[in-house]
Symmetry: C3
């Protein structure tokens, strides 16, 4: 199902059962794996001056919504879902089952682990390293320049199962450790400790995340895999505990 208005350049692989929407462009070097769906007005496989290679590989079952732009030189795992107006620049390494919301801007030269969810309008600066099962909410920015403008680039690291709430900024080189929670509208200037809630401008450690009570359930709200597993495998909590023990 390739719309007749779509432009498929030479040197493209499109697997079985893919759909390409109206007015979309698939550039030379793109490899779109089977069962993928690309909406309207997308530009996929764009060659940027900094692309390390001319190929773009997207594994099976991708859903890429309209007006999105993906550069060559990136590798994207299975089951990608994007919103609309998403940009993914060159040399991004994106795992399986990742969701990237409407208007999000992945600046390239970064990695995003499997099962991670970026909500709308998230900005991932270059050289960011985002782990697995991470949740990042709207208007969060991961920065990378400690004294702008400079030639120094220090990406942010976000470890597995961390959560960063809406409109927070993480300063360059910061590590957000496993299972932590950054409250909304925070400016994170220091590393966020393991399983700790931080919040404020600048953010300060408030409490252990296990002390946050769930409003509707008679139990702690964190670690979140205790009560939330939508879209994940059955054994999510066991996986959390396994990784937790590795860290401790």
């Amino acid at each position: 199902m390739i719309d007749k208005t779509a432009i498929i350049e030479d040197g493209v692989f499109i697997g079985e059962n893919c759909s390409i929407g109206p007015f979309s462009i698939i550039r030379t070097g793109s490899h779109i794996s089977p069962n993928s769906s690309i909406g309207s007005f997308c530009d996929v496989g764009v060659h940027g001056p900094n692309s390390q290679k001319a190929e773009l590989k997207i594994l099976e079952n991708a859903i890429i919504r309209s007006h999105s732009v993906i550069y060559s030189g990136s590798e994207i795992g299975r089951n990608l879902k994007t919103g609309h107006h998403v940009t993914i620049r060159e040399n991004s390494k994106i795992g399986n089952d990742v969701q990237i919301g409407t208007l999000s801007d992945i600046q390239g030269d970064c990695s995003i682990g499997s099962f991670t969810r970026l909500h709308s309008n998230v900005h991932i600066g270059k050289h960011s390293v985002v782990g697995e099962y991470v949740w990042i909410y709207p208007y969060v920015v991961l920065t990378n320049d400690p004294h702008p403008p400079s030639e120094t680039v220090k990406g942010v690291t976000v470890e597995d199962f961390a959560v960063i709430a809406t409109m927070s900024v993480i300063l360059p080189g910061i590590r957000v450790n496993m299972g932590s929670l950054v409250g909304a509208h925070s400016l994170v200037t220091k590393d966020v400790p393991f399983e700790t809630l931080v919040a404020g401008v600048p953010a300060r450690a408030i409490k252990n995340v296990k002390e946050i009570q769930h409003e509707d359930l008679n139990e702690p709200a964190y670690p979140w895999p205790t009560h939330f597993s939508r879209g994940y495998a059955d054994e999510l909590l066991k996986e959390y505990d396994r990784r937790r023990r590795e860290v401790l």
Copy 2:
């Protein structure tokens, strides 16, 4: 005036004197009322998995600017104006004379009352209830998950004539009461009282809005209908007073 490059699917109603710009797509089930104008590169009537119905109804005199995306399952009143790159997801109920600025992202399953103005890059989370004559400024986010990620969804309520200034975040389940003002760059963690200015991270009540002096006029700046009525009916201040008495 339907551009010859536009794609009009079967089962679409387009009223008299409408224009559809180059490369735009009008999907099955869309009802575009007379005197409406849809710019270039729009995708209108997109069928999402959560659309409650396959129809999209847009009343008279809409102006929808380029690169915007509107899902089926929404109902939109007269005189809609959008900026560019706007997204309106499924099951949104939008009143008459609403303006939605460039890059704004209406996440669906929400309502926005008549005469309300969203400036650029406003994010309306699911289950938000926004009243009439509300003004929301750039980079404001209405959130909905009290302990992300969770299954709990508690939308924000913004009452009539409230104003939320730039880059403020409203936490889940909060009520912003009638005639209040949220200062720029605030994090709103508690209900905002009637006709009250709140500001800060977290936001605190500062004063009654009537104590804010207008810089150029020798009178209070709020309630804003005392001195501002551009684009509204003549009797705006009377309408404000009428609703104010209902609340008190």
Copy 3:
């Protein structure tokens, strides 16, 4: 190299060695100077109701990336580079060698000086005056209405060589003086003094910028032209000193 799907309206000038990408639209009155490149899905020369004139002039060597929208009534200098999904509204005066990042929204009736860099998702309100060699980082908003909504419009002024870090809001009518630095996630409510670091909500003066040490070099990080000149002329530091003496 004008793609065969592009729409070039009557009354357009396109100089030698320009490329126009697939599905882009160049509207009547656009003047695209030689060696310019316009990506896919752009709408250039859009006529807005407030355009002071029907022309759009873009000087040599522009690179305008996909899904961008530029209105008529603006004048843009040499070597413009934009990201994707950029909006430039009417009556904007933009100098030479300006970069405007992905998702940035220039609201029109404003000026942006030569050699200035706007990163992703910057919002320049109407009546802003941005100087030369200014750096503005993601999710910064220059506002203009001191008591929203009102008829009062007081644009922000940002002087030469100033830097505004991520997610900061500048309130209406504020002047950010030469060589200053606004820290990330700040709310600027007062004029920012010359060569001063301000930060916080609300922002307070922290120190002279020369007291900020560079993490990797054994010297101060500011004024930034002491150690950073990528993309600029050789004599950048001399130029800084020259303008500094004018101010003092």
